[in-house]
């Protein structure tokens, strides 16, 4: 379903993704793990047509995202790591816009929106502007929105960041359900190793833009001789904390705060 060969992305001198290759099979749940700044999000952006690779080849369902962006976009859904909701719109309207974007028929859209908003306990607040929501509620809405249409591939970029255990449980149960009933291929990243272990059939670990290990959770544990995936992860990626420079978007957010922007 996803094929990546010798993928490279450079930002000026800095190489964010350095000759990585991997494959994700149809109907597989694949976890892409790595420390902050390892190149996970950059890889997802290239897979989802948001960034063009410096070199290497990509295929999503047999299609090159660079050559057929719209065909590729029809095939995936994504829950971003950063916020991507419209704060001025209500929860319902955010779902509605998404449904129109993905050509979900009106009747299905209304039904599924209600079902998902209830599942993630946002139904009571559906007519409130999203900027009034708490961090956790926004996160839940992002996830509900990402699940509104049924894509062939679902990208989840640290979807559970800042969520309570209840919601995390809801999310993974639902994702597994989609995987089993609809055969949705799932590509996820997370910092919670227990989640990866619980959900993913296969795991790739990326560090400094390179894939350092790949296999099932059991294989990775066996390979490193550790009891838990977390320990295996630390053996593979070292225990130093990574420096991450503030991104452009972060800087802009700070500027906006400084200027007392209304959102």
């Amino acid at each position: 379903m996803i094929q990546v060969k010798n993928l490279v992305k450079k930002f000026g001198e800095f190489t964010a993704v350095d000759h990585i290759s991997f494959e994700v099979g149809r109907g597989e749940i694949f976890a892409f793990l790595g420390p902050n700044g390892a190149g996970k999000t950059t890889t997802i952006k290239m897979l989802t047509t948001l960034l063009r690779p410096t070199s290497g080849t990509l295929e999503i369902d047999g299609l090159d995202p660079g050559a057929h962006p719209n065909e590729v976009r029809k095939r995936f859904g994504i829950v971003f790591q950063d916020p991507s909701l419209d704060g001025d719109m209500t929860a319902w309207e955010n779902m509605e816009i998404h449904g129109v974007f993905y050509h979900v028929p009106r009747k299905v859209r209304v039904e599924r929106t209600e079902q998902l908003l209830r599942l993630f306990e946002l139904w009571e607040r559906r007519n409130d502007q999203v900027k009034l929501f708490s961090g956790g509620m926004k996160r839940r809405l992002e996830i509900a929105r990402g699940l509104l249409h049924t894509p062939k591939i679902l990208f989840l970029d640290e979807p559970t960041l800042g969520l309570d255990p209840q919601t995390r449980n809801q999310l993974w149960t639902h994702v597994k359900y989609l995987n089993q009933t609809e055969g949705v291929t799932v590509f996820l990243t997370t910092h919670y190793m227990d989640e990866a272990e619980r959900v993913a059939q296969r795991i790739a670990i990326i560090d400094h833009g390179k894939i350092v290990a790949e296999g099932s959770p059991e294989e990775l544990k066996r390979q490193t001789g550790k009891e838990s995936l977390e320990d295996a992860f630390l053996v593979l990626t070292g225990s130093t904390v990574r420096e991450e420079s503030a991104t452009n978007a972060d800087q802009m957010r700070q500027m906006a705060k400084m200027w007392g922007n209304r959102r």
Binding site: L50, N70, D82, S84, L85, I97, Q129, A249, W259
Partner: protein, 248 residues
């Protein structure tokens, strides 16, 4: 529902929901109208040019439409900052449609703002010379709105951060406004200035409004209309090209 329609509706809803902003954005044109309109009125009258409020009102309406449309178009920058842009960029819809929804929404908001200011001008004593010409004046307002919404969207696609906003304001929007003849007649200007004003697209918009609303023309309606239509078309194409090239 089509993509263009939901995005158009989104712009409209955002506008209606920010009531404080509506009031605030009427303050500036009101200040120009009162301070300049009544302040410079006597001088203008003595120079034999007639009633200044009457002269300046079309200019103030054009200014409102200019500011509103260019800023709404540049609202793309806020979408980028707050992340909603990513949602639109990965959606399986032609980016041209996303861009058109944005431009039409921004233009509609600018039209509403322009109409509100027109009402304020009417209260301040501005009178239309020929009521039959009002639809034509609305057409010119619409053209100004579309032109600068497209420009704002193009700029919003090309620059990545808010710092660039101030630059655009000082070196593009303010010159476009001041050199458009919104505040003074374009006839008998010194050489350089008369050339520069000819290059300002808003000059043709202001002239179109002035011709239709108070019957004073500088370039002639045919010239006004064709320049505005041509530049709007060019900017729409440039805007969609730049928008299609955005990477996040």
């Amino acid at each position: 529902m089509s993509v263009i329609y939901v995005l158009w509706l989104r712009e409209l809803k955002r506008y209606i929901r920010s009531r404080a902003q509506i009031v605030a954005s009427l303050g500036q044109p009101l200040l120009y109208l009162v301070a300049l309109g009544f302040g410079l009125g006597p001088v203008f009258q003595k120079a034999g040019q007639g009633n200044y409020v009457q002269f300046v009102a079309p200019g103030i309406i054009a200014m409102t439409v200019l500011f509103s449309s260019i800023f709404s178009g540049m609202g793309l920058l806020w979408d980028r900052q707050f992340g909603f842009l990513k949602e639109t960029l990965v959606a399986p819809v032609p980016r041209v449609e996303v861009m058109l929804g944005k431009v039409l929404g921004a233009a509609t908001v600018a039209m509403i703002q322009g109409l509100l200011v027109a009402i304020v001008c009417f209260i301040a004593g501005f009178r239309v010379v020929d009521v039959k010409a009002v639809p034509a004046a609305l057409l010119f307002m619409g053209l100004i709105a579309c032109l600068f919404s497209a420009l704002g969207t193009a700029i919003g696609s090309a620059i990545e951060n808010i710092q660039g906003f101030q630059l655009v304001m000082n070196f593009l929007v303010m010159p476009i406004f001041f050199l458009s003849g919104a505040l003074f007649p374009l006839s008998n200007l010194p050489g350089v200035l008369s050339v520069v004003t000819r290059l300002d697209p808003l000059a043709y918009g202001v002239d179109g409004l002035r011709t239709t609303l108070i019957g004073i023309s500088h370039f002639g309606l045919a010239a006004d209309l064709s320049v505005l239509v041509v530049i709007t078309t060019i900017l729409l194409f440039t805007g969609s090209y730049l928008f299609s090239k955005i990477q996040a």
